[in-house]
């Protein structure tokens, strides 16, 4: 259970917390066994993630990893951001108790939902215009 300093730092001072009213894409992932929920909000321009926000219901590992993940994807191209997986987040946090990696790091799944949402919205806008 004991978390390292980096995890505790992201847990006590999480980055990019909060709902984004004017997001271009919103995605939710939940862990059905635990009831953990992560929501990711995206601002996207030129295929690049300009801004990102998150909300998480879950343990300290879930909160810290969501925070770290948003730091990692900010400014990245969409495809690049989508390639970041659970283990990369755990590594960026300088390690996480093994049993927490699988169940607590669900922010990457929320991101791919948010990207889907963004792309659907764009399709919709294109159709409207045409």
């Amino acid at each position: 259970m004991p978390y390292n300093r980096k995890v505790m730092e992201h847990f006590t001072q999480p980055r990019n917390v909060g709902e984004m009213k004017d997001a271009d894409g919103v995605g939710k992932a939940s862990n059905t066994t635990d009831g953990d929920v992560v929501v990711i909000y995206l601002k996207i321009e030129d295929d690049k993630i300009q801004d990102v926000g998150f909300q998480t219901f879950g343990c300290a590992a879930a909160i810290a990893s969501s925070s770290m993940f948003t730091e990692m994807v900010k400014g990245k191209r969409i495809e690049e951001a989508l390639s970041i997986d659970k283990q990369m987040v755990a590594d960026a946090l300088e390690g996480m108790p093994a049993n927490k990696v699988e169940c607590s790091i669900i922010a990457p799944e929320a991101l791919s939902e948010a990207v889907k949402d963004y792309r659907q919205r764009r399709e919709f806008i294109k159709e409207e215009r045409s």
Binding site: Y3, M8, F11, T12, P14, V17, G18, E19, K28, T33, D34, G35, D36, V37, V39, Q55, T56, F57, G58, C59, A60, A61, A62, I63, N99, K100, E102, C103, S104
Partner: protein, 394 residues
């Protein structure tokens, strides 16, 4: 920052008077109590005194006290010992669904040995119902084991009445009184108890030492074979300093119970009232009145218990939670499950347990901290979305 320890159901700080009483038995009177020389006599005299103190605290006789390594061993000795010794009389054991694992897992082990066990449900307020006990008793019931007070939610059981039901049926009655010593006035005669388990570190004594009260004439088989110490019920060289510590701690617990209970009750009342009034979406687990003087157990909507405990720890406050996020899923404690709290509702649980050393000023600091921590974690949590899910029954 002065740290606040609100996890006294996990363990307590040693009373300085207990440490003082123990010290001579480490480096001066360090003999083996079975030895014939003066070193041995000093050790055995100390055991006699500790045994008298333990017996007196629960209304027993000295020869009815068996010293063990702690509450878990005492529960095992009581339940396994009684089951195996009374096998020809019957094969049925009655217990409750929210006992400590020392009792539950011993009962499960005995199921594998051919015994039958009834795990009684408990009410949503955390009480074992007398009618439910009566209903499952049979001629084959050899033992009833119901805790005096629950270790998580602190609810106090009707020990005397349950003991009476067991005795009317000709069955033995065991109670895990680990959380009750120093907080409830237990008397083995008045409360119809045949076997009673205690653990020193829960009442400001040392870890690694406990005791089992075994009513005279109760048939019991030992778990440990060896040199025949403790009337053959618990072989092994006695842990003299530990036992001396248990004796001193239980004597103080009994002697000072009234003032300690009054003190803890007033702090607990402040904590319960102010937490419920000051924090939205907060509920009390367990019966409001029939609970230990040192226990406040809450659940908070839309927050995870581990996050809550870690965040309080950052603020210097040590408490515990009933939901432990483990390998694959968040395991709700069997106690919360037994009172009908499950899934998401069990996530944000918080157990605050006081001791005689707790102060009202600490409660005030906790109250400030809990409001801050809950609102911080809710600000991170997608509360509105979760509320919608809950309403929709998803």
């Amino acid at each position: 920052m002065e740290r606040i320890y609100f996890d006294n159901s996990a363990t307590t700080r040693l009373d300085p008077r207990v440490i003082e009483a123990m010290l001579p038995y480490f480096d001066r009177s360090y003999g083996n109590a079975s030895s014939l020389h003066s070193f041995g006599r000093e050790a055995s005299d100390a055991l006699v005194e500790a045994r008298e103190r333990a017996a007196k605290a629960i209304g027993a006789m000295s020869q009815e006290i068996v010293f063990t390594s702690g509450g878990t061993e005492s529960d095992n000795l009581a339940i396994q010992g009684a089951a195996f010794a009374n096998r020809e009389a019957g094969d049925h054991i009655v217990t409750s669904a929210f006992e400590h694992h020392a009792v539950l897992n011993t009962c499960r082990f005995l199921e594998g040995q051919g015994f039958r066990v009834s795990y009684l449900p408990v009410s949503s307020s955390g009480l074992v119902e007398l009618e439910a006990v009566k209903a499952v008793m049979t001629k084959r019931t050899i033992l009833v084991s119901i805790m005096a007070a629950n270790n998580e939610i602190g609810t106090i059981q009707e020990v005397r009445e349950i003991g009476g039901i067991a005795h009317d049926n000709g069955s033995l009655f065991h109670t895990d009184a680990v959380q009750a010593i120093g907080k409830l006035p237990l008397d083995v005669e008045r409360h119809n108890i045949d076997l009673l388990a205690i653990s020193a570190h829960k009442f400001h004594g040392p870890k690694g030492v406990g005791a089992l009260f075994v009513r005279n004439g109760t048939k019991l088989l030992p778990l440990v074979q060896g040199g025949g110490q403790e009337r053959g019920l618990r072989s092994s060289t006695e842990n003299v300093p530990g036992i001396v510590g248990l004796g001193k701690a239980i004597e103080l617990a009994k002697l000072e119970m009234e003032e300690n209970v009054a003190r803890m009750t007033s702090i607990r009342e402040r904590i319960i009232d102010a937490t419920l009034a000051g924090v939205d979406g907060c509920h009390l687990n367990g019966h409001r009145q029939r609970r230990l003087c040192n226990n406040a157990h809450f659940r908070f909507d839309y927050i995870d218990g581990e996050a809550l405990v870690l965040n309080l720890d950052v603020k210097g406050i040590a408490a515990s939670t009933g939901s432990a996020c483990s390998a694959r899923s968040t395991e709700t404690s069997h106690v919360l499950q037994a009172i009908g709290i499950s899934g998401e509702n069990a996530r944000g649980s918080l157990r605050i347990t006081l001791s005689k050393m707790s102060h009202m000023a600490e409660a005030e600091r906790y109250l400030e901290a809990i409001a801050e921590v809950v609102s911080r974690l809710r600000a991170i949590s997608p509360v509105a979305m979760l509320a919608k899910q809950k309403k929709g029954g998803v």
